[in-house]
């Protein structure tokens, strides 16, 4: 059974999350402070942490940093709408995703599933992937859309690979820039935007009704396409 550590100082939220998560078959441990969160992450080895950023003792970002010191367990941040900078800081500190309060339970569960799936050990990235009409062969660096081979520039390909190998994960501007352009980058969001736009166009994805790449303004992008079995 999957164990989830819920960190929130509000008893009502803890109760609501415990009830909903238990109803979905998760084993739930709830704590109310940052210190307890770090201890809980170390001692009970949960498979997922749901972390509220506004804790009474430690800053949420600090909790992430401490936890990241010893485990790669998926962390989903729960935060209120206005703390945009906190969200980005939390993601850059190592959080996997964030959900804005108030949230719909189904959305939280979907994010939780995606995060835990990504974290599953012993699953090397498949050499070929399929997302509906889109096929990718990572070994041969080949991208096929509707049976037609796409001509992508090297940067576009690297960007697509970064997205496709992290399905469902919210990738920050900084993370994507470093991954695709290199360590010296991090603030050149205009480059990133230009390439995302070009990639969307080539992949036939409409930003107003996205099927592949979703924009999170001021934060980054998320690849939302579900991987379909390449064999089928």
């Amino acid at each position: 059974m999957n164990r989830v550590l819920v960190v929130d100082d509000e008893p009502q939220i803890r109760r609501a999350l415990r009830t909903s998560l238990e109803a979905h078959g998760y084993e739930v441990q709830t704590v109310g402070t940052g210190e307890e969160a770090v201890i809980g992450a170390a001692e009970s080895a949960p498979e997922l942490m749901l972390l509220d950023l506004g804790l009474p003792d430690l800053d949420g970002t600090e909790v992430i940093r401490r936890v990241r010191g010893f485990t790669e367990l998926p962390i989903i941040v729960l935060s209120v709408r206005d703390a945009q900078q906190d969200k980005v800081a939390a993601l850059d500190a190592g959080a996997d995703d964030y959900v804005t309060k108030p949230f719909a339970m189904e959305e939280l569960l979907a994010r939780a599933r995606a995060a835990m799936r990504r974290a599953q050990p012993g699953e090397p990235p498949a050499p070929t992937m399929r997302f509906g009409r889109l096929e990718m062969d990572l070994g041969r660096r080949l991208v096929v859309l509707d049976g037609e081979t796409l001509r992508l520039t090297p940067t576009e390909y690297q960007l697509l690979e970064a997205f496709a190998t992290h399905p469902g994960k919210l990738l920050t501007h900084q993370w994507l820039l470093r991954k695709v352009w290199g360590q010296g980058y991090g603030t050149e969001t205009t480059y990133l935007r230009t390439y995302v736009r070009a990639l969307r166009k080539k992949l036939g994805d409409d930003a107003q009704a996205p099927q592949l790449i979703v924009t999170e303004p001021g934060v980054g992008y998320r690849w939302i396409a579900e991987s379909t079995d390449a064999e089928s």
Binding site: R193, A207, P217
Partner: protein, 482 residues
């Protein structure tokens, strides 16, 4: 405009330099003309000298006339009767002529002096009237009392050739004071004090000073200053009443706004809470059996109302932030079309009853904005459009780059907004007169405006080309190559 200038008292015989010269020259000319003619026609010489006296009196006033008269009566007998220029001043006829000359000089001189004084007085009265008229329009513009006093002190300086004006007045227990002209050490120049009278009571005073060595204040100056002071008092009184009326109006508006705010917020907060509580208690009631469809309906209501409450709370928080002056954008380089795209993607389910068209060029320069705040502006504007435009109509969103600014326009085909409300709709809690029942807290546009202004931009309403309304906003940016 100068109303106070020196002028001579031309009624009395005054021997100015100009008058003396004229009085000497005119008989001399007459002598020159009469000399060759005189022996043959003595009567012509009388006429000539008479003419000289009249001309002197007209041109130079009484003094000149008298000089010319004396001169003429002395010279004429010599010219006429003694070309050898021997004095022989005993003839009765000569004496009589002399008396006539002097009488003519006196009469003409006096008449001319009178006329010129009348003329001078008339033109001075005209200048004074014009001055008082200007003063009246300067002071009576519904300004606040302080401004009236300042204007008054300033406007007196030039016409009265003053170096300093000091005005003090007490209005409703408040002491007002205005000083114009050279400030500093008191000059040794002439000065005068005029009371500011409201009816019989003095409400203050005016102290006027001329520069060192300046002309003393004449009676005319004094009278005119008093007239000006009366006008200033009247203007002050009016301004005071205007200010009182304005404050009363402002109070009324603030109270009205506060009342509107409370009733609006109370209503808007309680309504979704009521729905939620009703739904939840119904679901919790063990005695009632709901079929799955009813259950789902109740739960959907609860969900929708929760979202509504969340939006309202967000708006109220923003309003509080605006009031506290804490609406500071966290700026970063962003593409406006991208922000619009995201909002459209999110809003689509709520705008299914409308056709949403977007005109988003992707080659616009980035702008430095707070994406979260801009997202909220767009959400509010689209929500408004969706609320007011009829089902099936088109909502068009366009983004363009106009003169170093990115401009976003949201056009709907709703009932539009009357011209005279184009400004007021941006006030918090204002609801359009044409649609008072439409739901909405009346906060969306106020918050949008605050956000746009915090970004150094502007937001406005236009009437659509075929009805409906366009809400447009502009955020300045620098053109940089992407």
């Amino acid at each position: 405009m100068v109303v106070s200038e020196e002028h001579e008292a031309e009624g009395a015989a005054k021997f100015t330099l100009r008058g003396t010269v004229i009085g000497l020259i005119t008989p001399a000319i007459a002598t020159a003309i009469a000399f060759p003619l005189a022996p043959a026609r003595p009567e012509i010489s009388i006429a000539l000298f008479m003419l000289a006296v009249v001309i002197a009196a007209v041109a130079g006033g009484l003094g000149a006339g008298l000089i010319a008269g004396i001169l003429a009566s002395t010279i004429r007998p010599l010219v006429v009767e003694d070309p050898q220029l021997t004095f022989r001043f005993d003839d009765v006829e000569d004496v009589a002529t002399g008396v006539v000359f002097l009488s003519v000089a006196l009469i003409v001189g006096l008449l001319v002096g009178q006329a010129s004084e009348d003329r001078a007085r008339a033109s001075r009265r005209e200048r004074e009237a014009r001055f008082l008229g200007t003063l009246s329009s300067t002071l009576h513009t519904g300004e606040i009392p302080d401004r009236v006093l300042d204007e008054f002190a300033e406007v007196l300086l030039e016409p009265f050739a003053l170096s300093k004006v000091e005005v003090e007045a007490t209005l409703d227990g408040t002491e007002l004071r205005a000083i114009s002209g050279t400030d500093g050490e008191p000059s040794a120049g002439p000065r005068t004090t005029v009371p500011l009278l409201a009816g019989e009571a003095s409400i203050g005073r005016l102290v006027a000073e001329r520069p060192d060595g300046g002309r003393p204040f004449s009676r005319d100056d004094q009278l005119l200053l008093e007239a000006a002071a009366r006008q200033a008092t009247a203007a002050l009184d009016r301004a005071r009443l205007d200010a009182r009326a304005r404050i009363a109006q402002l109070d009324a508006e603030t109270n009205q706004l506060r009342a509107a705010m409370f009733s609006s917020v109370t209503h808007d907060l309680r309504t979704p809470l009521a729905s939620i509580k009703a739904g939840v208690t119904s679901l919790l009631d063990a005695a009632v059996h709901h079929d799955p469809e009813q259950e789902r309906e109740l739960l959907t209501t609860i969900l929708e109302e929760t979202d509504r409450l969340n939006r309202l709370v967000g708006n109220l928080l923003d309003l509080a932030r605006i009031r506290a002056g804490a609406l500071t954008p966290t700026r970063q380089q962003a593409a406006m079309d991208e922000i619009v795209e995201v909002v459209l993607a999110r809003m689509r389910p709520r705008l299914v009853r409308h056709t949403v068209a977007a005109d988003l060029p992707s080659d616009l320069p980035d702008v430095s904005v707070d994406p979260v705040q801009l997202d909220q502006v767009l959400t509010n504007l689209l929500e408004n459009a969706g609320r007011h435009a009829p089902e099936g109509s088109e909502i068009r969103v366009s983004v363009q780059w106009i003169r170093d600014a990115v401009q976003v326009r949201i056009a709907d085909q709703g009932p539009g907004i009357p011209m005279d409300e184009h400004e007021r709709v941006f006030e918090a809690f204002y609801r359009g007169s044409s649609s008072p029942e439409t739901p909405g807290s009346g906060l969306g546009l106020a918050i949008s405006k605050a956000v746009v202004v915090a970004h150094g931009g502007r937001i406005w309403i236009e009437s659509g080309p075929d009805g409906g309304c366009v809400v447009a906003f502009e955020i300045p940016g620098e053109e940089v190559a992407p």
